[in-house]
Amino acid sequence: MSGFPFTTVLVANRGEIALRVIRTLRVLGLRSVAVYSDADAGAPHVLAADRAVRIGPAPARESYLSIPALLQAVRDSGAQAVHPGYGFLSENAAFARALADAGVVFVGPPAEVLEASADKLTVKRRVAAGGVPVIPGPLGAVPDEPAALQAAARETGYPLLLKAAAGGGGKGMRVVREAGGLLEAAESARREAGGAFGSTVLYLERLVTDARHVEVQVLCDRHGQVRVLGERDCSLQRRHQKVLEEAPAPGLPPEQRRRVHEAGAAAARALGYVNAGTVEMLLDPEGRCWFLEVNRRLQVEHPVTEATFGVDLVAWQLRVAAGERLPPQDEFVARGHAVEARVYAEDPGQGFLPSCGRITALDVPEGPGLRVDGAWGVGQEVSPHYDPMLAKVIAHGATREEAFARLDDALARTAVTGVRTNVGYLRAILADPEVRAGRVAIDLLERRAGELAEPAAPADLVLLAAAAHALLRGAAVTAPAVGAAGAARATPDSPWQSLAGFRLGEPSR
């Protein structure tokens, strides 16, 4: 039926991405196997799969990052293929190699490709040799010895960036503005990287300032064909954590867009890349693009590409892993504009600290042109063990303006209680004049933090809602009395200026 050389696919991940992969597996007629730690028994991805296998206790290192536990789960479930999602072991060459040795298909780059690109410095050298411009910085690992580290940093020059060689998604990454903070930043980055990736190797790069983050989605088959599925702009980041992503990149002159796509394709070719990947680049104010790194997996933000190109990237990952040939480049055509907002369990009013707890109420927005990828639900525990992303809300529109308006309307209809979220912050970003004008840059969110701070609470409205809730509880839902009340009747003399300016779907004052 399916035409695939495998029938059962184990998804070596959790949360929304595991759920999203399982959805595609079902559509393609493939059986799905979920894995879970003790913290995730009863989690949405576990409930959605055809079968679920426990792989260990809550800490990721003992479950989702444990290669032996996952190999055992593959054996127990009889899976013939593994989709790694993003994060965890998705770019781990040892995992891909162990699967290959066991005759199991890894739905991602083959082990050889991961092995040859496991060290990001090697990658940097290889893409540079392929004609792709790279960011200045030593092409070697950060030394353990403090004095040597400080010397290397001095040579690179401040401000600089400490990055985990095995890192991604902002984990194990630190900006260092001056020598004083270097050692502590390195220690902290090492600890974080060790926890997340099992490797503490760091490297240094010059911090390119005032730049935009533009990345190219590539799709490469096993027959040497490289396809470019446009670019995404992910400049809107907070502490190296992407917050809002869009496709295409706004305001890119055609010539720059062409250069960015060519650099992406060149990087993929230089690495002999196979499967879906992302070539991240910085675009400086002069319009020059710099190779940042290659993400050898599906990105969190892949849905904006799916929305504009009308493709299912997970389906393509599976087809490529099955040896299929990609169609010609001109069959991939983008349409309209898409934007994704990441809803995090964090408290913007308290320095964006993570917010753990149990979700007590949840309204998920729906409507034409919207997609919500989440693994949340009422009763769901948001655990301190894993990523704080609750969901991604993706809007598509004919134009950027339409997509942004649709996303804002969707966020206005989103309600989460039990944990604090950044939904209000996301709406503030969407309302920001620089963002609306498309003048995005990596430092924008930091630079405009003041303007993006939570507005004063609409106290009277909040009180009215609390009172209405308390007084209407148990009331007939469609009370004829209310129905008969007819059109809204404001008391004309009440001081409702504050509410008059308040409208769902529009950023409040």
Partner: protein, 176 residues
Amino acid sequence: MSAPSFRRRLALGTRVLAAELRLSSEGLLEGHVHEGEARRSLAAEAVRAPDGSVLLRVGGEAVRARVVRQGDVTTVVVGGRAYELRDAEQAAPGQAAAEEPFATSPMTGLVAKVSVAPGARVAAGAPLFIVEAMKMEYVVRATREVVVREVRRKAGEKVALGEVVVAFEASAAGRA
């Protein structure tokens, strides 16, 4: 028939609001709120939606709110933003002083590292412990010079928001 009423003193952040609202049989919510010296009139048409959310209409504007009450906290979500109303009787009369004789966890998570031991004298600004949750870690530092009396959590243990991790000797300053 007397209208059901809502009379509560509630804290919204640092603001304290005393609400007196009545619901007429026609679904009109009316009354006042006192805030310090100020007194404002409020009125809105209120409907409860089948999904339990609340719809308010004021002057032709519609606002939908999701309201959840748990313990003494009422969370009101409007336009995606969540606001927490705390019953003011229970609410602290003022913010706690900066010189508490202990250091608490700023979030629910795991203790990643404890940098001090009982008896240690710690300079202002020096790290006490690190809490880690999800993708983030947070370094808790001494806000003044302190002497550590007790360490209540060790690395790898869970800790809740507001829980004491390190307690100080009552020597240097402040309330003991």
